[in-house]
Amino acid sequence: MDAILLQVLNGLDKGGAYALIALGLTIIFGTLGVVNFAHGALFMLGAFCAVSFKSLISLEKVTLDPTQKTAWGTPLEIREAYVESWFGDAGTLLINYSVPVSLLLAIPTMLLIGIAMERGLIRFFYKRPHAEQILVTFGLAIVLQEIVKSVFGANPIPQPAPDVAKGMIDFGVAIGFDAGNVVYPAWRLIYFLFSISIVGAVFAFLRFTSFGMVVRAGMADRETVGLLGIDIDRRFTIVFGIAAIVAGLAGVMYTPILSPDYHMGMDFLVLSFVVVVVGGMGSLPGAVAAGFLLGILQSFASMNEVKAILPGIDQIVIYLIAVIILLVRPRGLMGRKGVMEH
């Protein structure tokens, strides 16, 4: 029982990341009708916001000590982080909390990147075939990741969680298990709560603001809304920015779980499309539900007991579910009929 509960937690956690990426993809698809293959790259750029912020605040004053040499013959470097020498303990604290603090950097950065992307490239592709949208955004994804690679290298760069969140939380005690049976890393629980709150915030924004109402109306019937004299284009630009922020924030908070490297976006790309399709193209609740569902099923498929019966099932479970859903219920879990059939 505790093993199953742990796998549910694993799934919720993974599902959180899937859901956030799929949410952004769905927003973009639903409003702009664009299949954005660069969405994984936005997730990756978010993660590298955290990397940049960390390296920015850990900029070091390097003094060379010519009397001492390193093993490779260069003078020994004595390094001291500027932030620490300027702010003392507060600086140390800042470095420790660099991941959550870099959310503040990521929001404006991702908004700008998103708007630049929409204005500079995507808007020219609204009326073009999906194949061309896929190709151009895929090209963009490659360009973005290669730029990141040339700046940061190909190796993963560790981003530790703040010290307070490094430990484990005995989750089981709260729900009636014996102590020590269901313990879970604090940061992963934070990530799950974080993804839930971002999802909640996006839904609330779309439901309760007039801006969101127009966007939802646009998703349902773009032409009519345009005829009402509403400047739907400008709003959609902002919507794209919001989707970029959601992907970026998902990336920032994921860095302590997965050391970021330039390629991480591609790894999530295929998966997040599967999530979107399983949830139903254009359905926001569908994307979120499918994200968590696939995360949990993936976790269960990886259990030894399951693998003993179906060897290799954990390798293909996501795709298998996608195939089954598409054959049994083609519009996805919560999709509308007829979306993207052609």
């Binding site: 194949a131 896929i134 090209g139 490659i142 293909i316 996608a322």
Partner: protein, 383 residues
């Protein structure tokens, strides 16, 4: 100068065949005149032509075509191991198995259209790849790839008294070694045949039907015509092309690796086709050549070559030029490729063929004193 379509096709075919067969000489100046790359041009040309029969004609965007290529390769290597080192049975079986696999996947995937179809094919291909890499290792030899062994049975070769002795055999067509230039000419002849066949398909009533599927499937269905058998036939044909290409890969280099089936490999053939011009006959071959050229030649440029290339500049400028250009070649060749996709898709949605047509039209206008119509040599674009 309006020629009859048959006539025009014949001229295109003859020129195509001449260029392909003369490729070793023609491509020498751009550094591509060596057997392996020429073989790759021909093989991926076949793959892309086949993909185009599906995508260019019917508009179904398959994101899992690499699976058929991989299956073709595995079949060919197994044929070498079990039957004979002769390439003919290998490519025949590779084509058939590729087609059979496509029939199964196509039958299921074609129940859906649009992006749902793409995701279904992607899912099948990824499942094939993941399994081939891990659980199916006894059949595929996983990460290392399926290789030949001295101890392989090769029953047909033994029956005909062919003994390869203590060395690893390589594929040969009745004594003609299939590596190096003979291998290229073998692939080239197959490419020309495939091109001819594709041309016939494009011009046939069946081809017209497929185009109709692309332009408006609903209307077709309302007329009481079931379009699925047509789409499935196209899917199987393009799967056979992919299987054939996979078989040829194994013929020229008897090793089959699982990464041939990865989704990025499927993406590659989509890029080749769109880059060259989907729905055109020549485009996919051009696109395939361009991408393989990038992969093999651009990735090999290192600082030394760049320094020599910018020889004519003053030294400081030379260093600056090398610093900038080294971002795009060598380890940065992916960046160039990505940027190129974007540029082509943005400015030439019809791919390279559209560029060529525009160029021809422009020259035609200048030469012919401004005739308004595009010249008759423009290849037909579908849809």
């Amino acid at each position: 100068m309006s020629l009859a379509p048959e006539r025009r096709d014949l001229i295109v075919l003859v020129i195509f065949a001449a260029v392909v067969l003369a490729a070793p000489v023609l491509f020498k100046p751009i550094g591509a005149g060596y057997p392996d790359l020429l073989q790759k041009f021909a093989i991926y040309g076949i793959f892309a032509i086949g993909f185009n029969i599906l995508f260019g004609l019917t508009g179904y965007l398959s994101f899992g075509h690499a699976a058929f290529l991989g299956v073709g390769s595995y079949t060919a290597v197994w044929t070498f191991k079990l039957l004979s080192m002769n390439p003919v049975p290998a490519i025949i079986l590779a084509t058939l198995v590729g087609g059979a696999f496509a029939a199964v996947i196509g039958f299921i995937s074609l129940r859906r259209t649009g992006i749902y179809f793409s995701i279904l094919t992607l899912a099948f291909a990824q499942m094939s790849y993941n399994l081939a890499y891990s659980v199916l290792t006894p059949i595929t030899n996983g990460e290392t790839g399926l290789q030949l062994n001295q101890a392989d049975p090769r029953v047909l070769d033994i029956a005909f008294g062919r003994d390869y002795g203590a060395v690893l055999p390589s594929s040969d067509l009745f004594g003609l070694d299939m590596t190096g230039y003979p291998g290229f000419y073998f692939c080239a002849v197959v490419l020309i045949l495939c091109f001819f066949l594709a041309n016939r398909i494009f011009r046939s009533p069946f081809g017209m039907m497929l185009r109709a599927v692309k332009s408006n499937q609903n209307r077709m269905n309302y007329t009481g015509l079931n379009t699925r058998p047509y789409a499935l036939a196209a899917f199987v044909i393009s799967g056979m092309y992919a299987g054939l290409a996979g078989g040829l890969l194994a013929v020229t280099d008897p090793l089959a690796g699982a990464e041939r089936m990865q989704w990025t490999a499927s993406g590659e053939v989509v890029l080749m086709t769109i880059l060259g011009g989907a729905g055109t006959l020549l485009g996919p071959v051009l696109g395939a050549g361009l991408i393989k050229y990038f992969e093999n030649i651009f990735s090999a440029f290192n600082e030394g070559i760049l320094m020599a290339g910018f020889d004519f500049l003053p030294e400081t400028l030379q260093h600056a030029a090398v610093a900038v250009s080294s971002l795009f070649v060598g380890e940065g060749w992916h960046l160039t490729l990505g940027a190129l996709f974007m540029l082509i898709v943005i400015f030439l949605p019809g791919g390279l063929m559209e560029g060529i047509n525009r160029l021809v039209a422009w020259i035609g206008r200048r030469g012919g004193g401004g005739g308004g119509e595009a010249p008759a040599t423009a290849p037909q674009t579908a849809g």
